[in-house]
Symmetry: C2
Subunit: 314 residues, 2 copies
Amino acid sequence: MLNVGIDIGGTGIQLGLVNEKGEIVQRGGIVTRTDIPFSQQIEALAKCVLETIEKGGYTLDDITAIGAGIPGVADPATGRIPFCTNLGWKDVDFKGEMRKHIDKPVFIDNDATVAGLAENVAGVSAGAASSVFLTLGTGVGGAIVLGGKVWSGHHGVGSEIGHMILVAGGEQCTCGNKGCLERYCSATAIIRMAREAVKEHPETAILAKAEGDPANINAKMVIDAAKEGDAIGLQVFDQYIQYLAQAISNVIMFLDPEVIVLGGGVSKAGDFLLNAVREALPRYVLYKALPYAHVELAHLGADAGIIGAAMLGQ
Amino acid sequence: MLNVGIDIGGTGIQLGLVNEKGEIVQRGGIVTRTDIPFSQQIEALAKCVLETIEKGGYTLDDITAIGAGIPGVADPATGRIPFCTNLGWKDVDFKGEMRKHIDKPVFIDNDATVAGLAENVAGVSAGAASSVFLTLGTGVGGAIVLGGKVWSGHHGVGSEIGHMILVAGGEQCTCGNKGCLERYCSATAIIRMAREAVKEHPETAILAKAEGDPANINAKMVIDAAKEGDAIGLQVFDQYIQYLAQAISNVIMFLDPEVIVLGGGVSKAGDFLLNAVREALPRYVLYKALPYAHVELAHLGADAGIIGAAMLGQ
C-alpha cells in the first residue's frame, strides 16, 4: 500500500507516492497559485494526485491515505487550515475540499512539523525518544516529536520556534513582535547581517560574489565567503552562529530533547555549520558538565516534506 | 498510607506526611546548613523525618515512600544530585544517604518540577492535559507536566525556563550568560528595575516604602506602590509585565500547553499580576485569534513543594 504525501510551498506544491519504507515511488507537482480561489487550487491538486497515481501504474485501491504539510497553521483534528498567510488562506477546509475529489482519509499538519516527523521516523533522528527539528530557511520553522508522536501543543499553535522572542525589543518581525528568533537565525538574518557588514567593508569576498550589489547577497554567498576564510564572511557567520547557539540552548534549557535536527536552506552549509554550532553551544548551555542534546543535520533534505506528510496517514 | 514530602530550600528544609488526598497531616522542619558535610545534613533530615512520623502518632509501617524536591539538578533515575549550587552539593547520593537511615523507597526531582506536579494533581491545573509552571521568585524556576507526568527532558536538564535567553546580549546572569529570562521576570528583576527608576524619580512611593534607601527595596514594595497608583510603581510594574508576557508567549509558541501556572513570591500579587499578564499577552502571541493557554495563579502556595515531593512516591 502507498500513501500520498503533499508538500505545499509558497511557489510550488510537490507530491509523491510513498511506500511503507518511506521511499517515494512516483512524483508529481503543480505550481502554487494565489490568484485563484482555494477550492480551485485543491481541485488542481487533486487532479495532479490522480494523474500521479495513474502515471505510476497504480489505482486508487493502492492508496491508503493522503497527507499534506501546510506552510501555516493546520488543525490535524478537523483537517481545516485556520491561517496560511503566505498563500492567503484563512479558515479553509482542506480535508473537505480534497475529499470532494478523492474519497480517501485526509490528514494535515504544519510543514515543519511534518518534516520533523519524517526525520524522526526515517531520517537522522530515527528512533529518538524526543527530537526538535529546526528549519533554517527564509524564516525558522520548528517541530517537536515526543515518543514518536508529533507534539503540536494543546491548541495546535505550538512548535512555532521561529516566533519565540530571543532578543526582546530587537529587530522588527513580520509578525508584529520585536526580536523573534527567526530575525536572528534564518537565512534572511544572515543576509541582513551581511548587508550591514559590507557597508563598512566593501573589500569583502561577499560583495564580490554579489557582483558589487548588496541587494544580490544571499546566505550561500556569506557562508561560502566564510568557508574561504574571508574575514567579514567569518565575522558575519560567527555572529549568526552565536545567535543560533543561543536559540538551540533555549530548546535544551526548556525541553531537553534527545536530538536537535537542523534542516532548511542554511543547513546545506553542512559540517561547516554543524561543527561551528557544536563548538559554540557549550558556552550557552547551563549544565556544561552534563550530557545534553546531540545536534545533527537533517538527512532527508527536500523530500522530508513529502515523506513526513505521507506518514501522517500511517 | 502516607508519603513523606521534603521541600529543600536555601534557608530551611520543610517536610510533611501527606495522605492520598494530597493533604499534609503532620509537619516538621530543620534549618538548612551549608557548613556541615552532606552526609551529616541528610542524617539530621532523616532524624527529623522519623521524629515527625512519631509526633504524628504513626510508625514507619504507615509510610510508603519518601520524596524530595531539590533546588538544583536532580537525577530521578539514580536519586543522585549532580549539582545544587545554592547548597554547595555536587554529585552527592541523596537516595543512598537517606536509605542509610530509613529503609523506604526514595524519590527526588527538581523543586520547581515538584511544585508544578503538585499543582497539576491537586492545584489549579489539576487534570490538565499539559501544563507549564513558572515560579517567580529570587530566580525563575520551571516545570513541565505532560499527560500527568513530569517532563524533565531526555537528559534531565530540561524545564530550566529561567535560563532561557530572552534578551540576547542583555543583563549579566549568575550562570555566565547574558539576558536570561530570570534577569527580567524574577522578583530580583523587579528590584533592579525599581532601583534604576528611583534614581530619576526619588519622589516615588517605592522609595518612601524603602525608607529612602534603594537597598531596602523589595518586589512587594514595588507592586504595592503600583497597586496604590504610584506613577513610577506602575511604570516599573508594566516594564516587568511586558517581559513576563513575552516569556509566557515563548512558552505558548514552543510547547503550547493547556495551562500556564504562575507561582513563587511574585505571584502573591494575586489578581493584580494575573490581570496585567492576561491583558499584555495578546500583544505577543502569534495567533491572536486562536485559543491559547489559560494563565492561572498557583493555588497550593508554599505547600506545593511538600505535596509535590510526596507525590513522587505515588
